[in-house]
Subunit: 424 residues, 3 copies
C-alpha cells in the first residue's frame, strides 16, 4: 500500500536529477511534474523586467559539461551529477593546464567525499564542483574543459496554485524550486507543499490558499513586485524548506513575532507533543526574508526540520534522496495540516450575551457535548470562549489562556455560535 | 474570653443545620441570623423575573423527607441531615422496590462514609443522597419514600449590607448562601463577611462597602441585573468562599489580572509572610464568574483558603463545622482587613513640586518621622512617593516598585499631603 | 611614560587637600585646577536666590580649626585633615570641659581608626570629627576650641564645560564637587569627567556635551532652575561618582528605565565583557535624584564602580587617594567613552527600499566589507539594519535584537546610508 509519505518520496526522487536554477528549463520541467498532481499557473517573466530593487536576470540553460584529463577520461561529468557545474556558468570550450583549471574548481576539503553546490548568479564566470578526493588524484597536464550552456535573455519561471476559499483572505505557502540535485533543501518542501495543496482541494476551505513554487530570493521578489497591490490580502503564510530530514521541527517566527501564523504554529507544536524548536525571526534564511521585509512585514513564518544551513550535508551532494524520509515529510505535512486547521477555525467572536454567563443548560449546550469523556473540558471551553469573546481575543487567545486544546475550543465556539450566543 | 474566631465558629455552627438552597426559607432564616450582627436589607425577587439571560426559578421549600425500608425503619432521614435530599427535589410520596429506588439514590463509592451534596435546580426530579456503606446494607423489598417539598412560584431572596463611606465608589464583598449543611463552602465565608462588615462599621471608611449574601450564580445574576445601571461604581470586589479550612490562602485574580484588587491582595499576601498561592482568573468557581463576565468585567477577585473543589470533603458531609477552625477564619478575616486597609489608603497623588526634590528638611518632614526605628525607610518612602506621584502611579505602584511596606508608603504620602506637597 | 590613569590619579591627589563644601573657596579652587585641563565657565549664584523649591544657602569658608587639650596640645587639627571639622560649622572660640565638648564630637565606634565625614548644611551648629581611638585617649579637663569659619552671604559656585557638537541636542555628564578630602566619592568622578571632556574636544562630536561640576543636590537644583527652559535639549546624561575604587562597574538606570542612555550603557557593559551590575532607579544616591524627578524625568543614569554608600570607607578618612587607582579610573573612563561612541552613532534610520531586500551585490556592499574576518557578521548587520529601519527602531534596537556588536551595526548602517539605501 502506498502511503502519502511514499508518494512524496517518489516525487523527490523523480525531481532530483533535474538541473534547476533560478531560471531555465529545470524549473519548467519541475513545475510540469508538480502540475501532474495539482494544476499550476506557470508565469514567465522576461529577462530585464524590473522587480522591486532587482532586475530579472538572463535565463540560464545547460546541456552538457565535463572536464577530461590528459588521458581523455572524463574526471568531472555534468551527466553524472548536475552539482558538478557552478550554477549560471558561462559557456566554455578550452584546453588548459591543471593549474589554470584549479582556479575554477570548488571542493570541500573538510568533507572530501562530497561535492559542494555553488552558484554565481550575478557575476559571470564558470566553474566546476568536485570531491576533494577527486581533485587530489588529478594528474598534471592539459585538460579539456567544456560547458555547453546558454546565458541569454529569456524568462524567470514560477508556478502558482490557488485553492479558492469562501473568502478572499489568503494564506501563502511558499517553497523554493531553484536548487538542482538537493533533496532536503528544495525537493522535500516541494513534495510537502504539493500534497498539502492536494489535500486542501478535497474540501472548500474558508480561506483562499496560494501555493508558490518559486526560485529563492529573485522569485519571491518577482512575485511580490507583481502582486504588490494585493499583498494586503495575505492573512498568514509559511515558507516551507528542509522539510524531510530526520531532525526535529523548527519554526522561525515572522518579523512581527506574534502574528497569527506564529501563534497558530506554536499552538500546534506545543500541544502536539512533537519535539520542536521555535526561534525568532532573523533576516536570513529562505524567502521569509522578502515577505518580512519592513515594507511588506507580512505574517509569514518559516517551517523547517533542521533549519537553514544547520546540517553537514547542507548544500552538498550528501543532501540526496536518502537524506530525506517518507516519515519526516509526512510529519511535516501533518504539522502543516494541523496549522491550517487552526487558521481555518480561528475567529474573533463577540459574545452576544456578555452580561453574566448565559444559561447554557436551557439551550441544551451542556447536553450537546455530553456523553463524551471530555465533557468537563468541553464545558470549560464554552465558558472560556464566552468569557474572552469580547472582540479583543480570537480563539487562539482562548486556547492559549485556557490551556485547552484548540480543536475543543473551536468546537465549543461553533456550538455557541449555532446557539446564537456568538457573532463573528 | 471569646475571640472573634470563636464568634465566627459559633455562627457557622448555628447556621449549619438550616436547609439552604438557591431559594426558600433556609436562605431567609440564614439572613435573619446574620442580621442579628449586621443590619441586612433583604430583597425578595419574584419567580419568573427575567434577570440577564436567566429567569428567577420557582421557590423550593422542604419540611420532611425520608426513606423507610421494608421493616418500616427510616434508613434515610432528612431530619438527620439536609444533605440527604437532592436540592430542589419535587414532592414524592410512593412505595417502590429497591431497584426502582436505586435510580434516585446518590452515593460516593470512593468515599463510602460520606454523604454527597447534589442539586437539580433546572431539571425537575427528585433524589436522595446517602453513604455508599448505607446503600450496600439495604435489604431488598418495598420502600416507602416521602419528600414533603414545595416547588412553586415564590421568590429568590438575598441580603445586602452597606457601610456608607465618604465617597460613593464601592467595594463589593460577596459570599454565597445557597448551600445547606456545608461549613467551609458557604458558612465560613458568611461568618468572615459578617465580622468584616461589623468591623468596618466601627469607623466611617473612605469607600462605600457593599456586602452581598446571595445564592450562587442565580443570585449574583439577579443582583447584577437589578444593579446593572450602577455597577460602574464598583471600584473593587472580593468573592469570599472556602474561608475556614486549614489550607493556605489562595487568591484568584480578576479577569483583568491587574485590577486594583489584584494588586492590593497580592501586596498584602506578599508582604504578610503568609503562605499563599495566586492563580489566574478562569471562568469557573464562585460568583467571580458573573462579576467578571466580559460585559461587566469588574475588578473582582476571589479569596479562598483551599480553592473551589480542591479538598476531598468538598460537597460532602465531611464539610462540617469540624472542618473549619476559628484560627483559619480569623486569618482570612485579618487578610481581608489588611486588603481593605490598602484599598482605603491607595490613592493616585500628584506631586505639586515635581521639579527636583522638594526640600523636606525645612518642612520638618524628616523630623516628622524621626525617632522611629524605620526612619531611613520612612524617608525612602517619602522620596519614592514624590518621585512616582506623576499622575500615572498610585501608592500600590509605589509600594511595588520601591519594595517598601504599603502602610509606610501610605503614611509617607499622608505626611506629604499634609505638608501641601501632594494633591489627590 | 605617563598614562591617562596616572594623570587622573595625580589630579585626585592635587585636589584631595582642598576643603570643598557646597559653597566656598574650596569649590572655586577645585574648578580653577580642573580649568587648567579644560576651559570652565564658572557660575556664581548669590545666596538667597530661589532655585526650584530651595534657596541658595549662605557661603561657608574656613581658615583654621583645632581643639587643644588641657596641656595645650592640638588633639584635633583641621590643618591635618579637613574632615576633622563638620562641614558648615559656625565659628567658635571657647574653652569648655571635655564633657561639654563631647556633644560636638563625631566618631565611628565600629571603625575606630577612621575619621567620619559630617556636614550640617541646613541647621547652624558646629562640630569636630575624629577617630574613636583618639577620643578614647582624651584626658579630662578644659579644652580650647577654635573654628575660624565664616558663614555669610556669598555665592554658590559651579563649573560648566561645553563641547559643541554638530547639533544642539545635549548629553550631560555631571559630577559632584562638594566633598572635602574624599577621593572616590568626589575626586575620581571629577578626574574621569575632566579626561572625558578633554578627549571629546579632540574631535567635533555629533551631539553637544555639557560637563557639569557642581555641588551635590543644591548644585543640581540650581543648575536645573537656571536651565529649566532648555532641559528639553538633554538627550541623555550620566552622573559620574565613585569612579575609582576597585569594585566592578554599577549602572543605575534612569527613572524611565529604557531611556537611550540606559540602553547604551547596558549595551556597552553587556558586550564589553566587563564585570558589572545594572540596578533600577531609586530616588536616592547622587544627582540623578534631581534629573529624574518627575517634572524633569530626564534620561539620566548613574555610573559608579561600587555604588553609593556601598563600601566601608564611604564618607570616612579611608576614602583617600590610595583607595582609588589609575587602572579603575581608566576603566571607568573607557566605559564612558564607549557609551558616548554608542550615543554618537545611534540613529533611527528609514530604509528607502523597504519592499524586499535591496540588491546589495550590485552596489558593491558585500565587497565593501569583504576581506575581513567578520564578513558574514557584517553582511548580517546590513540585513538587520535594513530589516529594522522602519522608523520605529534605532541602531541600539538593531544591536539588541540581532545580538551583533553595536560598532558593526553602526558601520553597516553607515555603508547603507552612503549607498543611498537609508535616510536619517
Amino acid at each position: 500500500m502506498t502511503t502519502v509519505g511514499d508518494e512524496m518520496h517518489a516525487l523527490v526522487e523523480r525531481l532530483y536529477p533535474l538541473c534547476r536554477s533560478i531560471t531555465g528549463d529545470g524549473v519548467r520541467r519541475t513545475l510540469e511534474i508538480v502540475g501532474e498532481t495539482i494544476p499550476l499557473q506557470v508565469h514567465e517573466v522576461p529577462t530585464g523586467t524590473e522587480v522591486l530593487d532587482w532586475t530579472v536576470p538572463k535565463e540560464w540553460n545547460i546541456r552538457d559539461a565535463y572536464v577530461k584529463d590528459p588521458s581523455g577520461a572524463k574526471v568531472i561529468d555534468f551527466a553524472e551529477s548536475n552539482l558538478h557545474v557552478v550554477g549560471y556558468s558561462v559557456p566554455v570550450s578550452a584546453t588548459m593546464s591543471l593549474d589554470e583549471l584549479r582556479g575554477h574548481l570548488h571542493t570541500l576539503p573538510a568533507q572530501p567525499d562530497l561535492v559542494p553546490y555553488r552558484t554565481s548568479y550575478y557575476r559571470e564566470t564558470w566553474g566546476f564542483c568536485l570531491r576533494e578526493n577527486t581533485l587530489a588524484a588529478l594528474p598534471g597536464g592539459q585538460y579539456e574543459v567544456l560547458i555547453d550552456s546558454t546565458l541569454a535573455d529569456g524568462h524567470l519561471t514560477y508556478g502558482e496554485h490557488v485553492v479558492e476559499g469562501e473568502v478572499a483572505d489568503e494564506v501563502l505557502i511558499s517553497c523554493h524550486v531553484c536548487h538542482p540535485s538537493l533533496a532536503n533543501d528544495n525537493l522535500a518542501g516541494i513534495a510537502v507543499a504539493t500534497r498539502l495543496a492536494a489535500r486542501l482541494a478535497e474540501n472548500r476551505p474558508h480561506f483562499t490558499y496560494r501555493f508558490l513554487f518559486m526560485p529563492g530570493t529573485i522569485g519571491a521578489i518577482t512575485w511580490l513586485a507583481l502582486n504588490r497591490h494585493r499583498v494586503d490580502r495575505v492573512r498568514a503564510g509559511l515558507v516551507l524548506a528542509c522539510a524531510g530530514d530526520s531532525g526535529a521541527l523548527t519554526y522561525k517566527r515572522s518579523r512581527r513575532g506574534d502574528a497569527e501564523i506564529d501563534r497558530a504554529v506554536e499552538q500546534v507544536l506545543r500541544t502536539s507533543g512533537r519535539e520542536h524548536t521555535v526561534i525568532d525571526f532573523s533576516p536570513y534564511g529562505y524567502d521569509e526574508r522578502q515577505f518580512c521585509s519592513p515594507g511588506f512585514n507580512l505574517g509569514v513564518g518559516s517551517l523547517t526540520r533542521t533549519p537553514y544551513a544547520g546540517y553537514p550535508e547542507y548544500h552538498t551532494s550528501g543532501d540526496n534522496p536518502d537524506f530525506v524520509s517518507p516519515e519526516a515529510m509526512t510529519d511535516t505535512l501533518e504539522t502543516c495540516w494541523e496549522v491550517l486547521r487552526v487558521l481555518e477555525a480561528n475567529r474573533r467572536y463577540t459574545n452576544l450575551s456578555p452580561y453574566g454567563e448565559p444559561q447554557l443548560g436551557r439551550r441544551g449546550l451542556y447536553g450537546s457535548l455530553g456523553g463524551r469523556s471530555d465533557t468537563q473540558q468541553a464545558q470549560m471551553a464554552m465558558l472560556w470562549v464566552l468569557n474572552l469573546s469580547d472582540g479583543d481575543h480570537d480563539l487562539l487567545d482562548v486556547a492559549e489562556r485556557s490551556g485547552l486544546p484548540f480543536p475543543l475550543v473551536a468546537e465549543a465556539a461553533a456550538a455557541l455560535h449555532d446557539a446564537g450566543l456568538l457573532k463573528e
